[in-house]
C-alpha cells in the first residue's frame, strides 16, 4: 500500500473511531459505556497498522502530513456529528478537538 493510500485509510479509521468515542461519551450513561467501548482498542490497533506503513516509525510524522491528517479528521468528525445534532442528539462538540489530539498522539502522528 502506498503512502497516500495508507494516509487515506488512517484518516477514515481515525474519524470513525473518534466519532464513535464522542457519541458514546455524549449519549450513554456512564454505567453503560463500558459495554460499548470494546471495539475501540481494536480500531486503535487498525489505525496503528496503517500508521506503521508510514515513515518515520519511531517519531511523529512530518508537520505537513500531521497537519493535513488532523485537518481532515476534524472535518470528517465534525460533519458526522453535525449530521446527528439536528436529529436530537446532545453532542458535546468541545470533545472533538480533545479526542482528536489524544488519538493522533496515541498513533504517533503528532
Amino acid at each position: 500500500m502506498n503512502r497516500p493510500d495508507s494516509i487515506k485509510r488512517f484518516i477514515g479509521v481515525a474519524s470513525n473511531t473518534i466519532t464513535h468515542k464522542i457519541l458514546v461519551k455524549s449519549e450513554l450513561k456512564e454505567e453503560l459505556r463500558v459495554y460499548y467501548q470494546n471495539e475501540i482498542s481494536r480500531d486503535v490497533d487498525i489505525a496503528l497498522a496503517y500508521r506503521n506503513n508510514l515513515n518515520p516509525l519511531q517519531e511523529n510524522l512530518p508537520d505537513k502530513d500531521a497537519r493535513e491528517i488532523k485537518k481532515k479528521v476534524l472535518l470528517r468528525v465534525r460533519a458526522e456529528l453535525m449530521k446527528r445534532k439536528d436529529k436530537g442528539y446532545t453532542i458535546d462538540f468541545s470533545l472533538i478537538g480533545e479526542e482528536t489530539e489524544k488519538f493522533l498522539r496515541e498513533c504517533k502522528v503528532q
Binding site: 477514515g12 479509521v13 449519549e27 459495554y35 442528539y89
Partner: protein
C-alpha cells in the same frame, strides 16, 4: 432469607456469632446455622439449559466454570452463552455473564479459568438491572440471551424498547470494516456482520435469534459469499461484499437517523 458470608476467627471468651451493629436482618438472639460455605456450594450443580441442549463434555466444562467462579466470590447467577453452545468444538472463547458479582480479583479469575480449562473466557460482569435494560434496548444483549445455560433458573422477557440513538452508536462501531476490511480477522468480520444484521432486525422490530440472524445474513449477502468470507476472501468476493455492505450500511444509518428525528420531534396538538 438474609445470608451472610464471613470468615471465622476464634477467641477464648465467646461462643456466639459476633456481628457489627449495622448488619441488616439479624436481630440479637436469632438462632443461626453455621456451615462451611465452599463445601455447601460445591454440591453438584445441574445447569439449566435454555433453548439449547449441550453435550456431556460441554456440560462438565460449564459445571467446572461455575465452581471456579463461585470460589472467587458470590454472584446472583452465571450464564454461558455464545458460540460455545453451538454443536462441535469450533468455538474460540467462552462468553460468560456473571450477574451481580461480588468478585474483586477479576483478572485472576480470568487467568484461572484459562489455565484450568485451556480456553479463553470472555467474562462480562454486569448488574442485573443493566442486563435487563440492555436486553430491552440492545440487539447484542437480546441475542446473547436467545439461548444460554445458567446456574440458577432465570427467564428473560424479550419485549423491546427501541432507542434509535443507541442503535446508531452501536452501528457506528462497525463502520471501520468498510475502511479496513483486510485488517479485520475472519472472526472480527463475522462479528461485525452479525452485529450489523442484529441491529437491522432489531430496528425493524423483527424476531432476533441466532437462526433469524443467519437467515437474514444469507439473504442480504448470499450464502456463498458469506461462506467465502469465513474461509478465504479473494479480491472478487471482497469487492462484491464491500459494495453490498456499504449500501446496506448507508441505508440502515439513514433509516436510524430518520427514525431518531421522528421520535425526537415534539408532538404538536392540532
Amino acid at each position: 432469607m438474609v445470608m451472610l458470608i464471613r470468615k471465622i476467627s476464634k477467641g477464648s471468651r465467646f461462643n456466639q456469632i459476633y456481628l457489627q451493629k449495622d448488619e441488616m436482618g439479624f436481630e440479637p438472639g436469632t438462632a443461626v446455622l453455621l456451615q462451611p460455605v465452599l463445601e455447601t456450594m460445591s454440591r453438584e450443580i445441574e445447569p439449566f439449559q435454555y433453548n439449547v441442549a449441550v453435550d456431556k463434555i460441554k456440560k462438565e466444562v460449564i459445571k467446572k466454570i461455575f465452581k471456579i467462579i463461585d470460589s472467587a466470590g458470590a454472584s446472583k447467577n452465571i450464564l454461558i452463552t455464545g458460540s460455545f453452545l453451538e454443536k462441535g468444538f469450533t468455538f474460540e472463547d467462552i462468553d460468560i455473564i456473571v450477574i451481580d458479582p461480588l468478585i474483586t480479583d477479576k483478572k485472576t479469575l480470568k487467568d484461572q479459568i484459562r489455565e484450568t480449562l485451556g480456553v479463553t473466557p470472555h467474562l462480562i460482569f454486569i448488574d442485573l438491572q443493566i442486563l435487563l435494560k440492555g436486553i430491552k434496548q440492545d440487539p447484542l444483549f437480546s441475542l446473547m440471551v436467545d439461548r444460554f445455560v445458567c446456574k440458577e433458573r432465570i427467564i428473560f422477557r424479550k419485549d423491546k424498547s427501541i432507542n434509535y440513538k443507541l442503535l446508531d452508536v452501536y452501528l457506528l462501531k462497525n463502520k471501520n470494516l468498510i475502511e479496513a476490511f483486510d485488517l479485520f480477522t475472519i472472526k472480527q468480520r463475522k462479528k461485525v456482520i452479525r452485529d450489523f444484521v442484529s441491529i437491522k432486525l432489531f430496528s425493524e422490530d423483527k424476531e432476533l435469534t441466532a437462526k433469524s440472524v443467519e437467515k437474514e445474513t444469507d439473504r442480504l449477502f448470499g450464502k456463498d459469499l458469506i461462506d467465502k468470507l469465513a474461509a478465504y476472501a479473494g479480491e472478487e468476493s471482497k469487492r462484491r461484499f464491500l459494495a453490498r455492505f456499504k449500501k446496506e450500511y448507508r441505508e440502515l444509518e439513514n433509516k436510524l437517523l430518520m427514525l431518531q428525528e421522528k421520535s425526537h420531534r415534539p408532538i404538536i396538538d392540532e
